[in-house]
């Protein structure tokens, strides 16, 4: 097993170039930036950071090509998206109600020690909504696979072949940020599988895609569901971690009660903060958080792994 490195956002503090140069990589490097959507081809700056060794998998471009040429796949993709949108709408309604209950319970005065018990039960109710959504999503994927087996001889098969050939020959893969929904969708659409021996460097949405549970969050978003939302399963290369890019800009880190609810809600995961300048290394197939990584603990504090 090789190394996985998660970086902070690259827009203002660019570390991908120095990170890749610090690794013993001599061959080509696959670039996945389909989260940039229609800007996917504007990859000159990223390729420059990789010293010209980058080869773009162009997953977004390929997806549009397939959807434009294969009516059956396009119809199936649209049907899937319709069902997922509907599922997300119902999940949002249930989640908001469950989160509102946590807020109400936690603000109620408790004289006889019922409060903490009620709060834990309210958080468990939120977990139950999350589990329901995840189960429904799994069922949706199962149904899609059962009804629309991919035509490996068609356009999508041709693209999968090309992507697989590139992945077979590259030494490392970098996965950029952007729209995490689009990124995951394109990875899943072409059944992209990262080779265990390949080094992977990822940031922002790319970092989220490497985990097993992708959580959407934006405490400052003016509208919509106010709580973090389970979105989808990631590639699972880093299980047990929830990646939180731009945490300072997107989370009320000073609101300990709110952060505590977040950490306790996802108690089986470590909540990893990935702010500007962060470099978190997982060498030799490791999946435990290394010393120095910043996380949100169950008390809602930002703590550093390995700190006394």
């Amino acid at each position: 097993m090789s190394t996985t490195i998660l970086l902070g956002p690259q827009r203002f503090t660019t570390t991908v170039g120095s990170t890749v140069r610090s690794l013993d990589i001599n061959g080509r490097i696959a670039m996945v930036n389909s989260g940039w959507e229609e800007r996917e081809s504007d990859d000159g700056e990223l390729a420059g950071h990789l010293d010209g060794r980058g080869v773009n998998l162009r997953l977004h471009h390929r997806m549009l090509d397939v959807l434009g040429k294969d009516e059956q796949v396009a119809a199936a993709a649209l049907a899937f998206r319709d069902r997922m949108d509907e599922l997300r709408a119902f999940y949002g309604i249930r989640l908001q109600a469950a989160i509102d209950a946590v807020q109400a319970v936690s603000h109620r005065t408790s004289i006889h020690a019922v409060g903490p018990v009620a709060e834990e039960a309210a958080i468990e109710a939120v977990r139950d909504v999350d589990r329901w959504y995840a189960a429904q999503l799994d069922e949706l994927y199962r149904a899609v696979r059962a009804t629309a087996a991919p035509d490996e001889n068609g356009t999508i098969g041709w693209h999968r072949g090309e992507i697989g050939a590139v992945l077979d020959e590259v030494e490392a893969v970098v996965i950029a940020g952007g729209n995490v929904r689009t990124l995951l969708w394109t990875l899943r659409f072409f059944d992209v599988t990262l080779r265990p021996e390949q080094t992977v460097v990822a940031w922002s949405a790319g970092a989220m895609a490497l985990t097993d549970e992708v959580i959407l969050f934006h405490d400052f978003s003016p509208q919509g569901v106010t709580a973090a939302e389970v979105h989808d399963r990631g590639l699972g290369r880093l299980p047990g971690i929830i990646a939180l890019p731009h945490a300072k800009r997107r989370l009320h880190l000073d609101d300990r009660d709110r952060m505590s609810v977040l950490a306790r809600r996802f108690a089986e995961h470590r909540l990893l903060l990935l702010d500007d300048g962060a470099v978190v290394r997982f060498p030799d197939g490791a999946t435990d958080l290394p010393a120095g990584a910043r996380v949100i603990d169950r008390a809602g504090h930002v703590s550093v792994v390995g700190a006394a």
Binding site: P9, D85, N179, S221, Q223
Partner: protein, 383 residues
């Protein structure tokens, strides 16, 4: 020294008598109106017998008379103008028996509407929202003009269909139906607003259809053929031709003033077909006893409709975004209808602004309204 004495116009008064060059320099330096803290001083210069500011702000004298400064040809009046306010006004003069109204010749800032133009007085703290101004970075959607054959209206109805940037038939879009559509495009910069809000991820990409009326006073206050055209002809046609989300939650009707009544009455006639309403300064005039509403004959069908709704309020959509300016006469009816709507179980978000019954007020509220009704994909993007 009191606050009033420190106003620029009061400092000028201390220099009486005033000669022409002194007034020239004063006007050149301060412009008009002069905004000092939460006070606005309006000026007029000319050889007239009387001058007023005509503004239609509820709570202030209208007309607001200006007083001559000394024996000069400069007239002035100072009024309170709270932070964030925006007022549209004109100057009226009397010279002998002759009255005349026009935009403030000392103020280059204008607002436009189907009725013409007005001068604009923006108080301290008022800013045009960034998303209301053309942004060259925002990808532009396209407007397609069409004629839709309507049996209900017995005519070809022109519409303009907005398709968002990167419109893609492999995706589905919510639908926004805009009453007074041409005016929203022309006077509320609505295409620019949609382009910008979508670009900034504040709202989901959506399809909007802009529908102008032919006989507004007849078709907008609870008119069956209009409602039938919208719900039974236009929406089904668009749903057939475009990749729209075919659920009530994804269909929104919007309008301002009488257009707000058109939106609400269409939803009332087809309950459950639309998921949301965006009502801006809707003409929700009603009476609690008798029928003396004071709005003139044009409001008779409006009052009948609103009175009937208030007698038996029902949930006709899931969500309503309402906005109204606190300086307009419709503020009380709008405030009064919020609990009526909420009581039915409809979710209502209501905002007020320090503005009047005008298109720029409605433009400025679009960000709040549209982002609540069509939340954007901010949560999905991690650059």
């Amino acid at each position: 020294m009191s606050a009033m004495e420190r106003l620029a116009v009061n400092r000028l008064r201390e220099r009486l008598p005033l000669d022409g060059p002194t007034i020239d320099r004063f006007v050149e330096r301060y412009g008009c109106p002069i905004i000092e803290g939460e006070r606005a001083t309006f000026l007029y210069r000319g050889d007239v017998d009387e001058v007023w500011v005509r503004h239609r702000v509820i709570g202030l004298p209208d007309p607001l008379p200006l007083k001559r400064i000394g024996d000069s040809d400069l007239w002035a009046v100072t009024t309170v103008l709270p932070e964030g306010s925006r007022v549209e006004y004109q100057i009226e003069i009397r010279k002998g028996e002759h009255y005349e109204r026009f935009n403030d010749p000392l103020n280059p800032r204008l607002a436009h509407s189907p009725m013409g133009s007005s001068s604009v007085c923006a108080a301290i703290g008022y800013r045009v929202p960034e998303w209301a101004v053309f942004d060259p970075e925002a990808r532009e959607g396209t407007l397609v003009e069409e004629q839709v054959r309507s049996k209900a209206l017995r005519r070809d109805q022109p519409v303009q269909i907005y398709l968002p940037a990167r419109f893609n038939r492999a995706q589905r879009y919510p639908l926004l139906v805009v009453h007074d559509g041409t005016d929203y495009l022309q006077f509320a910069a609505m295409k620019t607003v949609l382009d910008n809000l979508i670009h900034r991820l504040d709202i989901d990409p959506l399809v909007a259809v802009f529908v102008p009326p032919r006989d507004r006073l007849k078709e907008y206050p609870n008119h069956a053929p209009h409602a039938r055209f919208i719900a039974r002809e236009l929406v089904p046609l668009l749903t057939e031709r475009l990749p729209l989300v075919d659920t009530p939650e994804a269909r929104c009707l919007m309008g301002s003033s009488f257009g707000g009544i058109a939106a609400l009455s269409t939803a009332v006639r087809y309950p459950g077909f639309f998921g949301s309403l965006l009502l801006q300064s809707a003409s929700l005039v009603f009476t609690d006893i008798g029928f003396d509403h004071g709005g003139g004959p044009a409001f008779d069908p409006v009052v009948k409709f609103v009175n009937r709704f208030r007698e038996k309020p029902t949930a006709v959509v899931d969500r309503i975004f309402m906005s109204c300016g606190v300086y307009e006469p419709l503020i009380t009816p709008n405030r009064s209808m919020v609990p009526v709507f909420r009581h039915t179980g409809m979710r209502v978000r209501y905002t007020e602004s320090r503005d009047g019954h005008n298109w720029e007020n409605w433009r400025d509220r679009l960000g709040d309204g549209l982002s609540w009704l069509f939340p954007g994909p901010q949560k999905f993007v991690y650059e």
